[in-house]
Symmetry: C2
Subunit: 309 residues, 2 copies
């Protein structure tokens, strides 16, 4: 079995060694410009178009992440008929749950404000927020969104969820579709974005939608930078409609040094670390899926390229 | 039924009204100096000795908090034979769980360090900590300690617990007694103090014990300020043995403006807000216990005055 590998920004040696261990019989090579030798599978993260164009010999392309926006943007460079498989959870769900639970608890318990008082050497009690009016709205109810909900549930937050198609989750007020978005936003004091990036969801966090959040709302984006119209968020924060934002993803990464977000203390910036792809977990998951494909079995994570995720 | 009330630092009117609603038949009065008229119960937080001295007419003294150190310090001013009842959870457990989960996730995900980078406009990836070596040690396994453990469990942290007498909690490596303390400390990367304050536990977080934590450990104190020898913690932080501390309680509160903790950015200070006594929950709980006592039934929360909690 021949496997092509390319992962932008990653250390190829560590990945090759993880895959070699997980798929002992395979011959795995790092793709080089001009390599058109036969291959059975491709393992990729943000691959160049030239790697995949015309590669109808592939039985599947495995994306080394849950979000497939970068690969689908290759458009007709993607070989027709070759399935694209995204990672299932692979350790990302719990990391997302940790990151979002931290941000939600920080806002709910006003620990952002207490940290500022700390710097000012100020010992002052701040009136707590009422939990019943501190609803958390999770925009995107896939594996990761549901894992976030699970983490928040045990703290008894009122929970809202929104998905493209209707879902039913116990203890969650579920909204769906374009028609449900308005009600979802108006009911959510904290908005957690964990959507796939598709043409329909790009710019979804724009002025019109963000303004529907209740005054004093918080925004947490752990999805993709292109979901958010950054100038709109900044304006709503400056107008004090939005009280704060925790952003792990940006339209341009690294966030440019001149970006105004750096100057806004109500925005917490992290360098796209909310959920790292865990090498060994991912390699094991992909190895198992290759075995299943070889045996003619159905696997999870098959991307609907029309839908976009 | 006559009830005496005194709560240092609280708004008596709001409490009286909550109790009046919870115990409709009772006559509740705020204790005043010189008031020796008969009473059946006392509801107190940090009461003056004169309020309780010689009050053998009381059927029980209800403490408006889980920690009874302030009332037991009254010593022989406490009327002999009158039971002291502490609050059970009454909404404090979940608050403690929120506060501690936030602090643990902040340290584990290095969000303290990312916040500093944020201020410096620095986009830089920090190597994540390994969860298997990030054990959380909960010092004190009462109702509140167990609720904290429950919150941490879902994030899959390795968990240690220490209690005075042996306990057995699923998924928790339990240590107990003086003999177990050493092993507990050496195995815990994060120490969460949620002990009752007794003569045995005062100063338990001293140089000798804190130095047994692994290098790079974190300390979270949500119990009482007198558990911690503050100068010892500061020295160990400055020696970089302890990487950071989240302190909600202090030997002197408010923390004096000249206290060196204010100058140490690795110490996060909050003004004793990790778990507030919730008025309505507490009033309902105490009302229910009074009814049970009146009916001759056993109640929870009876303080062992010799043991100290």
């Amino acid at each position: 079995m021949d496997i092509l590998f390319h992962a932008t920004g990653a250390n190829p040696e560590a990945w090759l060694s993880a895959f070699q261990q997980a798929i002992p019989g395979a011959s795995i090579r790092v793709w080089q410009e001009g390599d058109t030798a036969p291959a059975d599978y491709a393992l990729v993260w943000k691959p160049p178009a030239a790697m995949l164009r015309g590669r109808t010999d592939l039985k599947a392309i495995f994306n080394l992440g849950a979000g497939v926006d970068a690969i689908l943007q290759l458009g007709d460079a993607l070989p027709p008929g070759v399935p694209v498989i995204r990672l299932d959870d692979a350790g990302m769900g719990i990391q997302m749950a940790e990151f979002v639970a931290h941000a939600v608890l920080r806002y709910f318990r006003r620990l952002d404000a207490y940290a500022l008082q700390n710097t000012d050497q100020l010992w002052r009690f701040l009136k707590p927020f009422d939990k019943q009016s501190f609803s958390i709205g999770v925009l995107g109810l896939g594996v990761l969104g549901q894992r976030i909900i699970e983490a928040l549930r045990q703290f008894d937050f009122p929970l809202n969820g929104w998905s493209r198609t209707p879902k039913d989750l116990p203890g969650v007020h579920c909204y769906s579709g374009q028609d449900g978005l308005d009600g979802f936003l108006r009911a959510s004091r904290v908005l957690v974005a964990i959507l796939p990036l598709t043409p329909e969801t790009e710019d979804i966090l724009n002025c019109e939608n963000l303004a529907k959040l209740p005054r004093g709302a918080y925004v947490i984006n752990v999805a993709r930078g292109a979901h958010l119209v950054e100038a709109d968020l900044l304006a709503l924060i400056q107008q004090q409609h939005i009280a704060g934002a925790t952003l792990d993803v940006f339209r341009e990464e690294p966030l440019p040094p001149v970006h105004p977000f750096w100057q806004e203390p109500r925005i917490s910036i992290t360098p796209h670390i909310s959920a790292l792809t865990l090498r060994d977990d991912s390699a094991r998951q992909i190895a198992a899926k290759i075995q299943m494909l070889q045996a003619g079995l159905a696997i999870s994570g098959l991307v609907d390229q029309h839908r976009g995720y």
